[in-house]
Every structure is written in C-alpha cells, then in structure tokens.
Symmetry: C2
Subunit: 469 residues, 2 copies
C-alpha cells in the first residue's frame, strides 16, 4: 500500500518535485470561498519558484493574491474558463506576462485530454476524502456538491493532491473521484469558507423588467416546437434565467409536459422541477446552491458528471449535444447574434464563456435573455467588444422591447410570423436602444493582447486587449 496521507502542508510540498515553469491546476467548486489556490500559490512563491502556469477552471475575487504573483513573475500564464474580480482587472491592465487563455468549460477538458496542456500538479479541493483518495463533494463542512471540473485534472495530471478538511475512514461512502487518480491526500483544518462556497446569486430576479423578459421567453418556448414531452433544458443561475425556470415549471405542470433531463450548473429551482417530476434526470457539473448539494446527495437521478461529459467538443458525445433548450445571458450582443460574456461595457474582463458557447453550440434552441437597456447602456453594439459565443450558434434574443430571431433560423421565423409576441429584427431592437441611450462611446485599448478567447474546438475566436488608462 502506497502512503498517501499527509497532515502537514509544508511536509507534502517538500515531497513534491516542484520546479520553475511548472503547470499547476485548481478547480473552482469552492467558488469565492476557496482557500486552496491562495494557500498553494503563496507557498510556491515563498519557495522562490517562477514562471508558473496556473490552470484554474475559474478565478474569483477571493483569488486576488494572484495579482502580486503576476506582478513579480511567479505566475506568467493563466488558463481559465471564467475570471472575475481583481485578477480579471489585473489581466486587463496588462499585468500578466503572457496572454491568459480563456477557454470554455468543455474546452478545459479538451486541452487536457489532447495534452495541449499537461498538468504537473493538480491541487484538488476535496470536501470529503479517505486516506487513499476517494473523494466526494457532497459531504463535509466545505461541501460544494458535484466536482465536475475536477475530473479531468484527476485523470490527466501527472501528480494529483487531494486536499480535504473532512477525512473519513476508508472507504469513503460516496465516491465521485476515485483513488486510482490520487497521489497524495492532505488533511488540513479548512479548505474553504462555507459562506463563499455557495454563492448568494441564485435568486429569481425581482425586477419587473426581468420578470417581463422571463414571461416573454417562456411564451416563446411554448410556441417554439421544443416544448414537448422528453424535452431537455438548461438555464444559468442569473436572475432572469431563474425566472424563466420558474415560468417553465408552471407551464410544464399546467400542460402536463414531462421533460427528459436538465443539465449544467444545478440550482434549487431546477431541483424543484425534478421533484415535481418534470425532469427524470439531473446531469450536474456544479451545484450553485445548498438545495442542489442536498439533492445531489439524496437523489440517485441527480447524476454528477465531468466537464468532459457535460460539454467537451472533442469526446465521443457530450450531454450538451442532447440538449434542446438553453437559456443564457449576455453582456453585449451585435446584429450578427455574437455574444460577449467575457468583457464588461468598460472593456475589462469580468467573466468568460464557462459553458456559454458549449451549450449554445450543442443545444437545438439557444435563447439569450437580457434587458435591452440597463443603466442607460444598451446590450446591443455595432460589434461586441469580445466575441465569446459566435452568432451562428445563438438563435434568439429576448428583451423587454421585443424578441429577435436569428435570420439563420428560417424555420423559427416562419413559425412565429403570425405570433402575437413582439418579434423584431436585431436592427429594429438596436434602433430602439439607441434612441434610449445614444450611440455608445468606443472603448479605448492598447495594442497588447492580454487574453485569447479560445473557442470550444481550440480555435481563437477573439482577443482581449489591454485597457487604456
């Protein structure tokens, strides 16, 4: 039997053959409560290593300590599917030596499976773990639910360290990632702050405009031809998206529609729909709230899946390939239906694709829900600042001023030509918006490319440039 268990972080770090230029990975299931990335990177910096590549499935405000490590050359490369907070700002300010690679959630699995990126050390938050490395995320004081983004690291990293604050006797009762992938188990006091692990964002919007958009969206879905027995559905955790879920729930119950599966990041709203018998399976890559975590623990039809199974373009078939309807948000759109969720209206990085372009491409009906005008800013631009998701994979935009159907979807345009819904062209919506906001001022950038937006197939779909101060 191999000795895997350590109780002292520094002793374990002594054991690892760390080196300059190494590639280290982290998952983001502990979200804005994560202690692990900071703990590990601080130690690597203190030991004097330089030129580190950080492959983190997402980066949150809590990871602000990375900024000084970028400034002093400890961290020179970053791969992530989503970056928000001070690290995003610092990248936009040109503080990272090389451009950040911003991939999709499925793309992250792809780059590891194809060995485009080889992880030297994966440091893996493990809410519950036994001494031989059988892990689950559904139990323990730092429970986060599904560990979908960690699977690929476990399978492909050269050395995998599971870091837990809930060491249980062998064998762990529920095993999501198993011992065959784990080199070391580190038992520490706390891997995260429970208040930050489960974010507070999963609430239905109370904004009447948002509720109006949700209502229009559900009416559109009902008439779209996709609202039928066996349908599958995904919605994000944004306030309008969740309001659509609430509308869908009522509509499915009223019309006695039984869906097939719901997928993606799972929220309590989706769990409710499952409990009402509206979906037979939940395919869960990450839990957004406590209700979802509880359900992952209790319901055998609540199946946790890897990011590869969820959304990888390059495997033998992802769940998004079977998805009928997805509801997504947007920071910006243009008349070509291109979507930006990577940079904000100021041109600064504030997010990233995550599963956005994966689900848009996989689904049969991709609906973007957004206020047309918010705080005197229009969602519609001549050209989006950054293309996250290409317009040819996006079908519909629903706003408070009308619904635009992508001209590529002649079938839907035909279907809705006599609809009572306010169907408009993107050009018409853009005119309405510009009357309200005026023409937006162009954002000014430096020449330096600070991030490459990588589409799910690995091609570069856009670049993000340094912000001009």
């Amino acid at each position: 039997m191999k000795k895997k268990l350590f109780h002292d972080f520094k002793e374990l770090m002594d054991k690892l053959e760390l080196k300059n230029g190494m590639v280290v990975s982290f998952h983001h299931h502990l979200r804005n409560g994560d202690f692990i990335l900071n703990m590990v990177m601080k130690e690597i910096a203190e030991r004097g290593y330089k030129d580190i590549t950080v492959v983190a499935s997402s980066i949150f405000p809590c990871h602000k300590e990375l900024v000084s490590l970028m400034e002093n050359g400890v961290v020179t490369n970053i791969y992530a599917g989503y970056i928000s907070g001070p690290v995003a700002q610092a990248i936009s300010d040109g503080k990272l030596k090389n451009p950040a690679i911003m991939h999709t959630h499925g793309g992250r699995a792809r780059i590891m499976e194809t060995k485009e990126v080889v992880i030297d050390f994966a440091f893996m938050g493990a809410p519950t773990c036994d001494e031989y490395g059988n892990i689950n995320g559904i139990e323990g004081k730092s429970a986060c639910g599904a560990l979908g983004y960690a699977h690929t690291d476990a399978e492909w990293a050269k050395v995998v360290v599971a870091i837990t604050d809930n060491l249980v006797p062998y064998p762990n009762k529920v095993i999501e990632i198993n011992q065959t992938h784990i080199d070391y188990v580190l038992n520490i006091e706390a891997i995260g702050d429970p208040n930050g692990i489960v974010s507070g964002t999963t609430q239905i919007t109370k904004n009447p405009i948002g509720l109006k958009i949700a209502s229009m969206t559900s009416k559109f879905i009902k008439d779209s031809g996709y609202f039928k027995d066996g349908m599958s559905f995904q919605t994000g955790a944004g306030g309008i998206s969740l309001a659509v879920a609430a509308e869908m729930k009522n509509m499915m119950k009223r019309d006695e529609i039984k869906g097939s599966f719901a997928c993606g990041g799972i929220t309590g709203y989706i769990v409710d729909m499952y409990k009402e018998g509206l979906f037979k399976t939940l395919f869960d890559v990450q839990c957004f709230d406590l209700e979802a975590i509880k359900s992952a623990k209790e319901n055998s039809d609540h199946i946790t899946m890897s990011a590869s199974m969820y959304a990888n373009f390059n495997n033998k078939g992802a769940v998004v390939d079977m998805l009928d309807i997805v509801i997504l948000g947007a920071t910006e759109m243009d008349v070509e239906f291109n979507v930006n969720v990577t940079t904000g209206s100021d041109g600064v990085i504030m997010g990233g694709s995550g599963g956005h372009s994966d689900t848009a491409a996989g689904s049969k009906l991709c609906i973007i829900v957004s206020q047309l005008v918010n705080s005197r800013i229009s969602v519609l631009k001549d050209k989006v600042t950054t293309i996250t998701t290409p317009g040819n994979t996006v079908d519909i935009l629903v706003t408070e001023h009308g619904i635009a159907i992508n001209p590529l979807r002649v079938d839907l345009i035909e279907k809705f030509k006599n609809s009572k819904l306010p169907i408009k062209t993107m050009e018409e919506l853009k005119i309405i918006a510009e009357k309200l906001t005026g023409k937006p001022k162009n954002i000014e950038f430096e020449e330096k490319i600070v991030a490459i937006v990588q589409y799910r197939d690995g091609t570069t779909i856009d670049n993000v440039r340094q912000i001009k101060r």
Copy 2:
C-alpha cells in the same frame, strides 16, 4: 449530435473500418451465456479478415467457435485473464499461431493504460443502454451486474461499440459507463443467454472435507490478528471459499466485529454479510449471482468498480492494496508456496489468474484453501506445472490434513507456535499426501510455448507448453 444508434449488425460492421491484423476486445460479464464474442468473430471471419488479436477478459466454454478460427488463421493472438473449455484445450494443443498472453485482471487494465496493447474495436455487451451509449449492467433481461472489466476497454479502445438488448430512452437512469466513451450503439434481439450469464457455481460446498477446511480457515483467521473491526475481506466463488464466508459471517456476528469492505467478484453470501452490517461497503468488479446483481441495483454502498480500481498494479492505488484477508483456491502448490490455477493436473489450460495473483500480492493475509488430496491427486507438487501466483505473495495453505504457514511469515509462525490448530510445514503436508497418492507421474510436454503467463507487473512468470498427445 453524433448518430450512434444502429439496429442492423451488418450495417454497423460495414461502417467500421475493419482490417487484417486488427485488435478486438470483449468483456466476460455475460460469462458462459455470452452471444457477442461469437457473433462478432463469426462476422469478421465471414468478411475474410485474418490475423486478428482477440483481447477477451475471460474465455468460457460457450466461446468454442474460436477454435476453428484459430485453426484457419483468422485468430492468431489471444489475451485473456482466464480461459476454460474447448478454447483452452485447443491452445494447449498448439492450435493458436502465437502464444496466448494470460494476464491478471489488474494486468489487463495495465496493458491498455500503458498502451502495451491498443484495442482497435471494443465490442461491449451492454445489458441496458440508451441511444447515446450510457450503459449499466444491472437492468434488462441480460443483466449481469457490475461491468468492471469493460471500463478500461471503454476508456482506451479506439472505437467502442456498445451492444444491447435493452435500449432505453435517453438518459439511462443508472450509468456505469458513460456516453463519452461510446462510438456506436447496436440494438439487437439478445446479447446473451440468461441461464449462462449467472453461473450456477456459487454454492457452499456440501463436502464434509471442504467444510472442515473452511472451519479450520476461519479459526486460523480469528487468531491471526487480522480479525478485527475495520477488516476487509475477499473470497472467491468456489465452494470452500464460500463456506469460509459463511463461517466468517457467524464469527463476526458473534464477536460483534464490523468490517470495512468486501471486494472482488461479489456473491449473495457477501451481500448477506453486508445486509447484516458486517461490511459497510462492497467494491464489486463482477457479480457472480442474482443476489449480487440485485444488491448492486438496490444498495448505494454496493459500489461497482473498474478492474483498474480493483487490482491494477500500475495505477495510483488499487482496492487490493487495502485488502486485509483474501481466500483463494489452487489447482497445485509447491513447497515454495507457488500456486497454479492456470493448468490442470493433466497440464492442460483450465483457468488462469483472474484476480488471484493481484489479490495475493495486495492483501495482508493470503490464504489458499484446498483439499490436500482429491480423487487420489495431491495438490502439492515438487514444482507446480505452471506458476500463476508467486509463493512470496502467499501466506497460508489450509488443507484437511493441516495448515502450512509460509516461512517468510515469521510473525505468523510465532503467533501460532502454541496454537491448537494443526500447524504443519509444507514438507510435512507433502509427505502425508504422497503416502496417500504415491509420487505423481510427470506430465509430458512438447517444446512449443502455447501461452505466456504474465504477472501483474507485466513480467513473464511462467510459460505453458503444448501438451504431448
């Protein structure tokens, strides 16, 4: 969405880029009821392909059609962990062009993971499957339970064909092997004969000599120091081994011992122990009977595992590494404690390691149970005909005439020096046996090597030679 589903076998075979010299794989979970290997190999032969390598986790009497394919050069290489019946006989008769490679169950995972053998096409019996290739073995008319030996093929074969006779709507409710690994799904009338899938061998011996051996074994275990809370246990499906399980059950209940896990091929006897609360987890690589299949379906603590997780020497930690006690059988042993379970007393192949040498090496206490003399044949030889499991991994032999402890286990010899159990040396047991049977006649072999016995680490531990007629 990729189109995976076919309803016509020949249409699917037309689609596959078959070629001479290809490597095709099969799992043995349908055991002696399997229809798939014969169906596929017959079609390959009819299409005129030659020089095929068959990588079958085990080969049973039902696969006798392979014999003529060996004779006419369609099949020239075989890899298997266990071979019995006409194919075994034909190999011993020199009918396979190249030596068969007889690996362990864990070794099979190793050779695929290291790419020592690359599978071109895996043809995978899938008792229940959806159109996108989510598979389980616990439901359907051909239910066989855990699919442990199929995992590695799914992960590593270039092309994977799931063959089912129970196609269910997407998504399959229980998923053991998922869609990301499956290229094609073939829906046919029947993948196996239920009477052959669950073998009739899992019965406790009624032979009083066998029961005496079981009783001695359990007494030995009780005093060994390994009989305590948290202990883990594996036993095979042989009659004496099962009798040991029955004794252990009573002993654990009486002494209020709570074990940790039981593993391996699971039988109803082990399920009973789990139900009594004697083990908290069952790690299951294959189900031996209907009770085990039922339990795999009903109990969340009955965890199905891959052969790699079970027993692979070459991953980051297998379940056998954590195993305390294993009870195994033997065809032959010698005074060095080497065990043969590959060839019979006539020198003809009749089995193979399966998990024998994996569990012997991993466990803390490896006990061989066997009649010393059976039908006037002694289990003890000067030298075993074939070394399957090396003596330095075997601790104990229990026979009706006494118990031998491996001299390497000075700790156990010390512990049992005042025991009331009939502790003897191997030499003493051998003298007793030879008094009863006389010196056995040597088996005569030709020069030709017909099979290579590959130890779990990939080294050659012995060769099997062609039988002299």
